[in-house]
Symmetry: C2
């Protein structure tokens, strides 16, 4: 496995591959790999001939009061994990090269980016869309793979790529969970044992909502009220948002008609965690 | 020459060319070709192995009160001119395919897009940047060629491409003028004979400014005052903006230090025309 930091070097490598007709797959990450990342890489490995994993903690998607500085980093460990899964290039651009002096271009996605996490984190999806588009230009992959834990992010990226006709296919992959159900996240490393226990309320709330729907509940008010109660009954938690939305448009729905996506963002003391699941009237769906 | 309207067909053709290792050049236009367009195509022909000219009157770069509806169109004549100059594909996408229902992604360039024509035409450069990026994704050219008459547009596109790491080189080419000096523009077709005569005030003002600078003038106030007088003394004209700017940042300069760009936008009755030239302390520069 190569580790490449320089954009020109990266571009040279992917052009060489393209000249050989090889199918390049990109997995964009912010590093501090967990089994969720590894599952994306392993999937990317199966669908492409060359696999690039980008590792970039993108300043443009963090608000001024957010956790850019303390976001966990461990390049040595990340390099070992990437190598084990068969990554060809770990691409680690520098912030100063990604956003040089005078940088002034941003990608704005409309309604999909405005509610939910977009409301709690102004500018977040502008930063996400911009950096993803930059990475797609730098690596020119045929496919890029994202996790469904960041469901709104996945939908924003899909919309951007469709709207701007970017010649890359975007694929979303299922959430990977800890044995007890907590969704894998680099931010789980912020949690002390007490908070780690409290964090399970997100998964329990998703499971509870699924049970409710399986027993016939459809109306948003009923489902969200139950979800809020389950979370609020856990000490040290504060709901950021709890939303039942159309899985494609991310607009709030009044009731489940076929399928809906339940999206949670919850503060566990000073750590903000997200999780989500598909709720379906007609069939069992995994969380 | 092929005429292609469908995006998938266009993408199929350019992928075929790329597979053969051919260098593709794109000249984006809004059609109604004049010798300025033809010069861009002829230049594109010399630097590439396949030449695509896009023809799309982009709704996203017109304001609600602007001339989208009456913008001149003549596809038959454009097709003949493109064929004569050796264009391989005239790409004519439909507005409904470029901006389908639910479209919501736009590219925003910062300070470069805000003053000058960006101040007179809110949203104009957002529309330009967005459609150019879409076309670059659709055609994936190694080089795209733009005219310098739309100088701010050229600089906005260059900045966007640099900031977003788009793998296309942007080349600007000199303004082409009528024998009497009027800059070639599709909008010149709006002018009646009287207005056509009045429109020459833009070129005369650029020439006058150049004379002033050759005779030692440097300060913006002196140069712009003379330019304004030359334009205002022509009946039927109204200045939109007259600006002396740094050629790279497009920020206003107090005086010419080396080089500056003089940019004009002038209404000739109901027709808004633009023109510009480089002003240099040290050498004669063509307008």
């Amino acid at each position: 496995m190569e580790i490449i930091s320089d954009f020109q070097d990266m571009q040279g490598r992917v052009r060489q591959w393209r000249g050989q007709g090889l199918k390049v797959v990109l997995v964009p990450t912010m590093g501090y790999f967990h089994p969720g990342h590894v599952s994306l890489m392993a999937y990317g490995r199966t669908i492409g001939e060359r696999l690039v994993v980008s590792l970039f903690v993108n300043p443009a998607q963090f608000g001024p009061q957010e956790d850019l500085q303390r976001y966990p980093r461990d390049l040595d460990r990340d390099g070992r994990l990437a190598q084990e899964v068969g990554v060809d290039v770990l691409y680690t651009p520098e912030a100063g090269a990604m956003y040089p002096p005078g940088y002034q271009t941003y990608v704005e996605v409309g309604s999909l980016a405005q509610g939910l996490c977009g409301a709690s984190r102004p500018g977040h999806f502008r930063g996400v869309a911009t950096v993803v588009l930059k990475l797609l230009h730098q690596v020119e992959p045929r496919v890029a793979v994202f996790g469904e834990k960041d469901y709104q992010q996945l939908m924003v990226v899909k919309q951007m790529v469709a709207d701007l006709d970017v010649p890359t296919e975007i694929i979303g992959r299922p959430i990977v969970r800890e044995p007890d159900g907590l969704a894998m996240s680099s931010r789980n490393s912020y949690l002390n044992p007490e908070e780690r226990a409290a964090a399970l309320c997100l998964y329990r709330a998703l499971l509870g909502a699924r049970e409710l729907v399986l027993s016939g509940a459809k109306r948003r008010d009923n489902i969200l009220e139950a979800v809020r109660q389950m979370i609020n009954s856990t000490p040290g938690t504060r709901i950021d948002h709890v939303s039942l939305v159309d899985p494609v448009t991310l607009q709030e729905v009044e009731a489940i008609d076929g399928e809906a996506r339940l999206l949670l963002a919850v503060w566990i003391n000073t750590t903000r965690l997200i999780d989500n699941t598909l709720l379906s009237e007609s069939r069992l769906c995994c969380v």
